[in-house]
Amino acid sequence: LLGVDLTLSQALAIDGTVVGLRTLGFMVPAAAGVQEVSYMLAAAVFRIPPAAAIGASFARRARDLVLGVGTLGIAAVGDTSSALLRLRS
């Protein structure tokens, strides 16, 4: 989908590297920047263009944002409605 030829073993190597480097940068909230640089470095090993690597990282962030905002939104609505119910009773 990003226009990159990638085998599953290469994907395993890239994802494992990103997981490792994200763990190394545990002090940075949401691994901001750490994930992007990790993808770029890991992809460079397989001569994948940096733009595609950062695109993959941003796509992952977009996925997390979509799922995260949806989840936190539902949680907030649930918390508010249960608080209102407690107030009424």
């Binding site: 989908l1 990003l2 226009g3 990159v4 030829d5 990638l6 085998t7 599953l8 073993s9 290469q10 994907a11 395993l12 190597a13 890239i14 994802d15 494992g16 590297t17 997981v19 490792g20 480097l21 763990t23 190394l24 545990f26 002090m27 940075v28 909230p29 949401a30 691994a31 901001a32 920047g33 994930q35 992007e36 640089v37 770029m40 470095l41 890991a42 460079a44 090993v45 397989f46 263009p49 940096p50 733009a51 595609a52 690597a53 950062i54 695109g55 993959a56 796509a59 992952r60 977009a62 996925r63 997390d64 944002l65 979509v66 799922l67 995260g68 905002v69 989840t71 936190l72 949680a75």
Partner: protein, 241 residues
């Protein structure tokens, strides 16, 4: 949010911006455009089984008498991940959100303990995965500058993870303190939690976490598939997952 965290966030954002500038903002935007909404949807769908496995693993880490249903643990895991990715929190802040989503009273107390155990198992599971990545890099024969750099970084990760596993006892104490701040019920329950922690850790980490560990490699392999899917697969697949 502590000042150190804000500084770390600023450095991270600056590094990310530098990476985008180096790669070319236009080229990055073009790569993202080629993904389309359908690609994003595929990525989100591929991620769901990972969260489900993580939620089930968390429930198994809660011992023989979990404080909530599997569905509740799944939901709490979703909230935990969402807080970690969307809000400017470190690991502990996200866990506090997850524990709050688990329920109240006993659920908070046991949620804190099980999250502590779950976190240690998660860290432990990362070690073989990162090692597999390193071995794959070396097996593919890519002995260049980047491989050496990544090998060093991954080795450092291994050392840090091992250190964190050794220091996991203080993690439980920190989680408990944060849970007390978040919830008055958690404040009442935490003395019991502290007393029960030793027994829980013995029971859960030896018994249930054996099963919980089984979920981790599966979720990590699914994670690799999540990277592979957005790319167009090449002709020679060396799949070992």
């Amino acid at each position: 949010v502590r000042r150190g965290t804000i500084i770390a966030l600023a450095i991270g954002v600056a590094a990310g911006a530098a990476a985008v500038i180096r790669a070319g903002a236009g080229a990055v935007a073009q790569a993202l455009e080629s993904l389309h909404v359908s690609g994003l949807l595929v990525m989100a769908l591929l991620h769901l089984p990972i969260v489900v496995l993580m939620g089930l693993a968390w429930r198994l880490a809660a011992g023989e008498d979990p404080p909530a249903s599997p569905a509740r643990f799944l939901w709490a895991r979703f909230v935990r991940d969402a807080a970690g990715e969307v809000l400017p929190f470190l690991y502990l802040g996200a866990v506090v959100f997850g524990v709050r989503a688990l329920g109240r009273g006993r659920a908070i107390a046991l949620g804190v303990v099980s999250a502590c155990i779950d976190g240690v198992i998660e860290l432990t599971a990362k070690l073989p995965y990162v090692l597999a990545a390193l071995l794959t890099l070396l097996a593919l024969g890519l002995q260049n500058h980047f491989t050496r750099l990544l090998s060093l970084a991954l080795a450092a990760t291994g050392v840090i993870v091992a250190g964190l596993i050794v220091a996991h006892r203080s993690l439980g104490a920190s989680l408990g303190a944060m849970a007390r701040v978040v919830s008055p019920v958690g404040r009442l329950c935490f003395p019991w939690t502290t007393a029960a922690r030793a027994a829980m850790c013995k029971r859960a980490s030896i018994g249930s976490s054996v099963s919980a560990r089984a979920y981790r490699p599966a979720s990590r392999c699914t994670s690799a598939a999540g990277v592979w899917a957005p790319a167009r697969p090449g002709s020679s697949s060396g799949c070992s997952a």
